[in-house]
Symmetry: C2
Subunit: 202 residues, 2 copies
């Protein structure tokens, strides 16, 4: 259990920080950083503005906390995918995991990372940089895994690992765009099946 909050002095907090953060994540996820107003956030979190600022700092800090939560819980499949025995297995877990993550019935459609990296205005520039920077490490991990697969003989010797990584990421990001635009699970399953049918190696 992570070191939670035990102030032991002063009036105790009437809400659960983790619950509130989960609610905030859902708002950011469905509306984007700029699209999520403080009114949206506080209503969903069930707290007032001063409580939000006391607990999280400000809107940007709250977003980073929500992004942490998102990556830890909703993007866990990307880490587990790397454990697949073959390169194709990695791609398979990634792609089907993306469908589950982006087409859940009870959660917003699309990918918070893609939403935040694409949009939008001036105030979100720092956020955009932050989101983009985070994806780098995730990408590096995939590059390493595919390099290993190449050495294992799971991929043809002549393949460009960097290109293959960008290619797989592009499909994942494109699926996120389509999910956000209303694509159904069946739509995305067709995309995944088509992509996997032409994946090189095993």
């Amino acid at each position: 259990m992570l070191a939670s909050n035990t102030p032991t002095k002063g009036r105790p907090r009437e809400f659960d920080v983790d619950v509130a953060l989960t609610a905030a994540l859902r708002v950011f996820w469905s509306k984007g950083y700029e699209g999520a107003s403080l009114t949206d956030l506080t209503e969903a979190m069930g707290i007032t503005r001063p409580s939000l600022y006391a607990a999280f700092g400000n809107k940007e800090a709250l977003f980073r906390r929500a992004l942490d939560l998102y990556e830890r819980e909703k993007l866990e499949y990307t880490r587990r995918a790397l454990d697949a025995p073959t390169a194709k297995g990695v791609a398979e877990r990634m792609l089907y995991g993306a469908i589950d993550a982006q087409c859940s019935e009870c959660e917003p459609k699309g990918c918070l990372g893609v939403i935040s990296a694409v949009a939008c205005g001036a105030e979100a520039d720092a956020i955009r940089e932050h989101v983009i920077a985070r994806r780098v490490s995730s990408r590096n991990a995939l590059v390493e895994r595919l390099e290993q697969a190449k050495q294992d003989g799971d991929l043809p010797a002549e393949i460009d690992i960097d290109g293959l990584t960008g290619y797989l990421f592009a499909i994942l990001q494109g699926m996120a765009v389509q999910a956000g635009a209303g694509a159904t699970r069946e739509d995305l399953e067709k995309v995944v099946k088509t992509g996997l049918s032409m994946w090189p190696g095993r």
Copy 2:
């Protein structure tokens, strides 16, 4: 030549509507619909707010005009791609055309359609629906072209055309996300080459 503006009565306008619209497109393209403020727009267009409202109606109508211009000029390659002799030729023109469109030195990175479809808040919902609806016809055209290619024997008989279309769109949209996130032309060329190397048929 389209029916331009010939009011013949009253004070003549001091700016060129098409030039102003081009400037507005660049602003929407780089900042998104919500990220582009009226101040951004009027400064880039070199006109005042009342002139903007007199000439274009309001911000949303201006965006639709800019989107028309974008699809007519910047997305022309998607229509010309359909004229390629084979299915793989279509994919090739689409993918390399996307690189040119999204990595131009003198224009914003990424794709206005993707940016607008992904982002963002409540006020942009109508815009989002509009952008998504437009992509449908573009997608249908690609489906038809690939069906034809299948009959021509350019694609394996067992291939799922709908899946292949969504797959190609996903790569294109993913490339737009990556271009907006700072990917270079070389990065995207690797993605395209990887994708084309595993394209089915000819």
